[in-house]
């Protein structure tokens, strides 16, 4: 597979990111980042809210993300710029919000990439144990290799890296389907003892409705990262077609995957175990007693983790690059590679950052640091979602329907925007219940970063070049 790179650009030409992506790549980017959440992480909803609490969280948070994807599709199909939500905020609200959103995106994806690399090295360590190794395999070299090798792929071209993501993501999704087929999920009485689903009321909602609300925070694992499809808009052959089509197909895939995952796990594992398992789907395969399923699910987990890390490198670098291009950060980061047409400096710069966050929990022998890294990622994403609500209202006010060409029009406006605001507030509350101190620390971090931006950086921002999309003058200006 080869990128459609036209070779080195001449100095008299203007550089741009290469426009080679199709809806398939957008699907691979969105689903690829998220699907690892089906293989691990989602099951903490069970610990918080029980089996039914977990299912409610999957669907309620699914509604949050469906609203988000629809809103995202309308704005991104109209403003197809790298940086996604950052570029949206730049056009609709202003530099301070754009800076914050850009920073949320970079931190969310870099932290998630670090967590993925950490998990990958854990899986390899487990695999070496299964293959009979008596000595403990070090996590450092494999976490580092995963990040560096995927960054290399991203450096060399977006087409190859997202084509690879398509194959490994599709494979990982098919392993979930294979698990459902393998245990004959359509006939629950045959192979599933349903210990988590029936028998006792305590299995369903052991902590009542407050448990369901607490589960919402971890319900984000089912979908966190699907909004990253917007980051690739500038590299699509036709963003107005690819972004809505790829993103919608992505959220449909994820809702199906989330429901299937919950169903097979709930049917075969007791909820008390499931709530704390590290690799729940792999455990389901082991309980099912099929060697083929065990191998498939192990490979599926590895592929999902790699796809997520790969997508995160793509998205974090685009957000960082677009802030550099507009001088929100030093212009050095806003460079495009003349041959590969990728944001190469941003890709390289974020490698040591991701490696540091990946190996710090191991280096300091502090596993809770990993959950803090993951919580930082989730909360950064959530802050970005909350900001999308005012962004979208202002977008519709500045460019009402009929004033600009849209690749997709959000139906039932303003209901999805209200749903996004309400559900984001609920998840914030749930996070506060479980991680109040971390939440406040993260808010303090972004507040300090905002002060730095206003005092030290704003003077360098290209204020006259904020409106880069080919849009008419906004209404009222």
């Amino acid at each position: 597979m080869q990128d459609a790179a036209p070779g080195p650009a001449r100095q008299e030409e203007h550089l741009s990111l290469l426009k080679v992506l199709s809806p398939v790549h957008i699907w691979a980017l969105g689903v690829g980042i998220v699907l690892v959440g089906e293989f691990m992480g989602w099951n903490f909803t069970v610990e918080k809210g029980g089996m039914y609490g977990s299912l409610i969280a999957a669907w309620v948070v699914g509604l949050l993300y469906t609203s988000l994807v629809m809103i995202n599709s309308e704005i991104t199909s109209t403003i197809p710029a790298a940086g996604g939500q950052y570029a949206q905020a730049k056009h609709t609200i202003g530099p301070l919000m754009a800076f914050n959103v850009g920073l949320y995106l970079t931190m969310a994806y870099t932290m998630l990439e670090a967590a993925n690399a950490n998990v990958l090295s854990y899986l390899l360590t487990e695999l070496s144990g299964l293959l009979g190794s008596s000595e403990g395999l070090s996590a450092y070299p494999f976490a580092t290799l995963a990040i560096v090798a995927l960054a290399f792929l991203n450096y060399r071209g977006v087409f190859t890296s997202l084509s690879l993501n398509f194959f490994i993501t599709a494979f990982a999704f098919l392993t979930i389907i294979a698990l459902f087929v393998g245990i004959r999920g359509w006939n629950p009485g045959a192979n599933m003892f349903l210990g988590g689903l029936t028998g006792e009321v305590a299995n369903g909602l052991p902590y009542g409705w407050i448990g369901v609300i607490a589960a919402l925070q971890f319900g984000m694992w089912y979908y966190l990262g699907i909004e990253g499809t917007a980051q690739a808009a500038e590299e699509c052959r036709s963003a107005s077609r690819s972004i809505p089509l790829g993103s919608m197909a992505g959220i449909v895939t994820l809702i199906i995957a989330a429901t299937l995952t919950w169903y097979v796990a709930a049917g075969l594992l007791p909820w008390q175990y499931l709530g704390t398992a590290i690799t729940p789907l792999f455990d389901v395969a082991r309980v099912a007693g099929s060697g083929v399923l065990v191998v498939l699910l192990l490979l599926g987990t590895l592929c999902a983790t790699l796809a997520s890390a790969n997508g995160c490198i793509n998205d974090a670098s685009r957000a960082w690059f677009s802030m550099g291009r507009d001088r929100y950060l030093p212009a050095w980061f806003g460079a495009v590679h003349p041959r590969y047409r990728t944001p190469f400096r941003s890709i390289v710069f974020l490698i040591p950052v991701a490696i540091a966050f990946a190996i710090l929990p191991v280096l300091l022998n502090n596993p809770t640091l990993l959950s803090t890294v993951i919580t930082f990622s989730i909360l950064s994403g959530l802050l970005g979602y909350s900001f999308m609500v005012p962004n979208f209202f202002r977008f519709r006010r500045l460019w009402p329907l009929g004033s600009v060409r849209r690749g997709y029009v959000l139906p039932f406006h303003p209901l999805p925007a209200f749903a996004l605001a309400l559900l984001s507030a609920l998840v914030f509350f749930a996070t506060f219940l479980g991680y109040g101190t971390v939440l406040l620390s993260i808010l303090a971090f972004y507040f300090l970063a905002s002060i730095w931006f206003v005092v030290r950086r704003y003077k360098y921002v290209k204020r006259g070049a904020q409106f880069t999309a080919p849009l008419p003058r906004p209404k009222g200006y």
Binding site: E135, F142, A149, A151, G334, P338, R405
Partner: protein
Amino acid sequence: MSVWGALEIAAWVLSAGIALWMVADLVRVGREYDEDFLTTAVEIDHVPADDEEGRVR
């Protein structure tokens, strides 16, 4: 040395090799091309073809 120990060393060597290649290429591009040329990428340089035929909605 066990197989796993050798794999760990191979992972380190491979990581270092890839990282060095990227840094060397990054430095080479910075030397060969004008900085203004590299950092003035066009954000949205054209309206996609289907938009040109599309409806105003």
